[in-house]
C-alpha cells in the first residue's frame, strides 16, 4: 500500500503544471525569435528582464496570500504609492537614497500588515479588504507626492546608485544582474515556502484552516505574515520599478497586480489556495512578460496583448479545473 503511493507519473516528477508552463515559455520565446529577427537580440532579453523585475517581485509576494486562499489586490497601486513616498523624500526633501528606499519597503510592510489585520483578525473577505487598501494607497500615493510625478535620480546623477542594483555595465555590455538577484530571492522564498514554519503554515491555512487552528498553530499570526510578505515584496518591487523607469506617476499602478496574480496562477498557484510554488510563479510571470514584450514585435498592437493575457489566464485556470475534475473521477 505504502509502496503504491510513491509511484508518481513522470509528469508529476517533472513538476506538473510548472513543467508545461516552462515549455510554454520556451515555445513562446522560440516563436517570437523565428517570427521577428529583431526579437533575437541580447537587448531584447535585457528588456524582458528589466520590465519583469517589478512584476516578478510582486508575484513572489502575492503567492503567499494566494496560497492561503486569499488575494492581495493592493500591491499594484501600493507599489506606486511606496515609490512616490520614498522618492518624494529623496527628490524633494533631500534624504539620502538609501533611506528613501528603506521608507518605500517599510511603507509596503505597513500596508501589508494592515491588510493582514483586516483579513486575519477582523475577518474581512481578502479581496474586498485589499480592494479598499488598493483605493487607499492610490489616494495616499498622490497625497504623498502632492499629486506630482516623481523622478528618482537618473543614471549618473548623485544618489542614483540604486539603479545599478538591477543592471551593471561591465565594459560595453550591460549585465542584467537583477535577474541573478531574482533567482536568489526565488531560491530563498522557495526555501521559506517549503522548509520554514511560515511557508508550512501558509499552506496549512490555505488547505484546511480549521485543522491548522486545531493543531494549535497561531493562525492569525501566520495569516498576517502572508500579507506582510506580500507587502514587503510590493515594497521591493517599488524599488525595482523606480530603478528601471525614470518617472513614477501617481494615479497609475492599477493593473500591475493583475499581471502579478495572473503570473502566479499561470505558474500553478491554485486559485482556491493550498498549493503553489515560487518557481512556478517565476515561470508564470515570464509567460506574461514574454507576451507583453514579444507581441509588439510580431506587429500586434498593444491592445491585443491585454486580450491575449486575459485569455491565457482563463486557459490556465481551466486547465487546472479540468485536471481536478478528471482526478475526482
Amino acid at each position: 500500500m505504502a509502496g503504491d503511493l510513491k509511484k508518481k507519473s513522470i509528469f508529476a516528477k517533472l513538476g506538473g503544471q510548472k513543467f508545461i508552463v516552462l515549455l510554454v515559455v520556451i515555445v513562446l520565446f522560440t516563436f517570437f525569435s523565428i517570427a521577428s529577427q529583431d526579437f533575437r537580440k541580447y537587448t531584447t532579453v535585457l528588456n524582458i528582464f528589466d520590465f519583469s523585475y517589478y512584476i516578478v517581485l510582486m508575484a513572489i509576494g502575492v503567492t503567499f496570500p494566494l496560497i492561503t486562499g486569499g488575494v492581495d489586490l493592493s500591491i499594484g497601486t501600493g507599489l506606486i504609492c511606496y515609490s512616490l513616498a520614498g522618492g518624494y523624500l529623496v527628490v524633494h526633501l533631500g534624504w539620502p537614497t538609501g533611506l528613501g528606499l528603506l521608507v518605500s519597503v517599510l511603507f509596503g510592510i505597513l500596508i501589508g500588515f494592515a491588510n493582514g489585520v483586516l483579513i486575519a483578525v477582523m475577518g474581512l473577505p481578502p479581496f474586498l479588504a485589499t480592494l479598499c487598501t488598493c483605493m487607499i494607497t492610490r489616494g495616499l500615493g498622490s497625497i504623498c507626492s502632492k499629486g506630482f510625478g516623481i523622478s528618482w535620480p537618473t543614471t549618473g546623477a548623485p544618489g542614483s546608485w540604486f539603479r545599478s542594483i538591477f543592471k551593471m555595465q561591465i565594459g560595453g555590455t550591460k549585465i542584467p544582474i537583477g535577474f541573478i538577484w531574482i533567482l536568489i530571492i526565488v531560491a530563498i522564498m522557495a526555501f521559506v515556502l517549503n522548509h520554514t514554519k511560515i511557508g508550512r503554515y501558509t499552506i496549512a491555512i490555505g488547505s484546511n484552516k480549521e485543522a491548522a487552528v486545531l493543531s494549535g498553530i497561531n493562525v492569525k499570526f501566520y495569516h498576517i505574515m502572508a500579507y506582510v510578505i506580500s507587502g514587503f515584496f510590493a515594497g521591493l518591487a517599488s524599488i525595482a520599478y523606480a530603478a528601471v523607469f525614470p518617472t513614477v506617476q501617481p494615479g497609475t499602478g492599477a493593473g500591475f497586480e493583475l499581471e502579478a496574480i495572473g503570473g502566479a496562477i499561470i505558474g500553478g498557484v491554485s486559485a482556491t489556495g493550498g498549493a503553489g510554488s515560487i518557481e512556478g510563479t517565476l515561470i508564470g510571470v515570464f509567460v506574461i512578460c514574454l507576451l507583453k514584450t514579444g507581441l509588439p514585435f510580431v506587429g500586434l498592437q498593444a491592445n491585443w496583448q491585454q486580450i491575449i493575457t486575459g485569455l491565457v489566464l482563463i486557459a490556465a485556470v481551466l486547465v487546472d479545473i479540468i485536471k481536478k475534475r478528471r482526478e475526482a473521477k
Binding site: 473577505p125 487607499i136 489616494g139 497625497i143 486575459g310 482563463i314 479545473i321
Partner: protein
C-alpha cells in the same frame, strides 16, 4: 434601541436604511455648513446626480452578482468597453443612435454572459474571471476603436439620448434610475430568478440539491449585471461625453462600495436594492462634497475605502453574532 427597531413602521422600512438616509442628510448638512452655504442649491445636486447615475447602474448590477456570493470587478472596464464600441459605431460607422444604445446594452450582456458562463458552468473563481474579462474588455475596446477615445454627440448635434439624463434642469435620469431600481427590487425579491439567486448565494449546494438548476440562475445574475453595466455606459457618456480605451477600473471600487455600504453581504444571500441606491447616493454626495471643500479625489478614495472597511466589518460582526 431595540424598541425603536421593533416599531412596525421602522421594521417595514428597515432600520439600517433609515440610518443610512440620516447619514445622507447629515453629510449634506455638514457640507453645506463647511462650505458656508455654497453647497446648497440645484447645480451641486445635479452634478452629484450625474455621478450617481452610472455608478448607480453599476452598483445595481453588481448587487445581483454579490448576492450570489460572487464578485465582478470587470464592471468599470466593461462599461467603458460598451460605451466605446457603441460610440464608435455611432460616430465612425454611422449606426443610428437608437441602435447604438442597444449595442451598448448588448456588449454589457455579452460580457455578463461570458463571466457568468465561466463562473457558473466551469467554476472558475469569480475574481479570476473578473481579472481576465477586465483585460479583455480593455483590449477589445481599444482594438475596436483603434485606441481612440470616443466622444458622443451633444444634444444640439443629434445626441437625443442626453434627454435620458436630463431635459433642461429636470433630472430624467433620476426617474429612470429609480424605475430601474424598482424593477430590480421586484426582480430580486418577488420573482423566481431573484429568489433562486438569493438562495444560492446563501447556500448553493442546498439549492442545487433541491433540484434547481443553480448554474443557470447563477449565470443569469452575471447577465443581469452585464445588462445594467451596458445601461450604465449610456448614462456615463450622457453625463461625461467622452470615454477613453484602457480605463474604467477606478469605478469598480466605488460601485462595489455603494453596494456593500447599503447592506448587501459579501458572503452572498443577503442583498438590498434600496440599500444599494442609498449607498450610491452617499458616494456621489461624498465625491461632490470633497470637491466642494477643495480637496482632491485622493481624499475621496481614502474615505470611501475606510467606509467600506467599516461597513463590511459591521457585516462580519453581525454574522458572527448570529452564528
Amino acid at each position: 434601541m431595540d424598541k425603536i427597531k421593533q416599531n412596525p413602521i421602522v421594521k417595514k422600512l428597515g432600520f439600517n436604511r433609515i440610518v443610512l438616509v440620516f447619514v445622507i442628510l447629515l453629510m449634506y448638512t455638514l457640507f453645506c455648513v463647511a462650505t458656508g452655504g455654497n453647497f446648497a442649491g440645484l447645480p451641486r445636486i445635479l452634478s452629484a446626480l450625474n455621478y450617481a447615475y452610472f455608478l448607480g447602474f453599476l452598483s445595481l448590477g453588481v448587487t445581483f452578482v454579490i448576492a450570489t456570493g460572487g464578485i465582478d470587478f470587470s464592471i468599470g472596464p466593461v462599461m467603458f468597453c460598451a460605451a466605446l464600441i457603441s460610440g464608435y459605431s455611432l460616430t465612425s460607422l454611422g449606426v443610428p443612435m437608437g441602435l447604438a444604445l442597444l449595442i451598448s446594452v448588448f456588449v454589457g450582456f455579452c460580457f455578463g454572459l461570458f463571466n457568468g458562463y465561466l463562473v457558473a458552468y466551469w467554476s472558475v473563481p469569480p475574481f479570476i474571471v473578473s481579472m481576465a474579462s477586465m483585460n479583455i474588455a480593455k483590449g477589445v475596446a481599444s482594438v475596436f476603436t483603434k485606441t481612440q477615445s470616443v466622444s458622443w454627440p451633444q444634444l444640439a448635434a443629434g445626441g437625443w439620448f442626453r434627454q435620458l439624463v436630463k431635459i433642461g434642469n429636470f433630472p430624467v435620469g433620476l426617474v429612470i434610475f429609480v424605475l430601474v431600481a424598482i424593477v430590480c427590487a421586484l426582480l430580486l425579491n418577488k420573482t423566481k430568478p431573484g429568489r433562486y439567486i438569493l438562495c444560492l448565494g446563501s447556500n448553493r449546494e442546498a439549492v442545487r440539491l433541491s433540484g434547481v438548476n443553480t448554474k443557470k440562475w447563477e449565470m443569469l445574475a452575471y447577465v443581469i449585471c452585464g445588462v445594467l453595466v451596458g445601461i450604465a455606459a449610456i448614462f456615463f457618456v450622457g453625463a461625461y461625453t467622452t470615454v477613453q480605451p484602457g480605463y474604467g477600473d477606478q469605478y469598480n471600487n466605488e460601485a462595489i462600495a455603494g453596494c456593500v455600504m447599503g447592506g448587501t453581504s459579501m458572503a452572498g444571500g443577503l442583498a438590498s436594492i434600496s440599500g444599494t441606491v442609498i449607498g450610491v447616493f452617499i458616494i456621489a454626495l461624498l465625491q461632490e462634497g470633497i470637491l466642494a471643500l477643495g480637496f482632491t479625489k485622493d481624499y475621496q478614495l481614502i474615505i470611501t475605502g475606510i467606509i467600506v472597511i467599516v461597513a463590511v466589518y459591521a457585516d462580519v460582526v453581525a454574522r458572527r453574532r448570529k452564528n
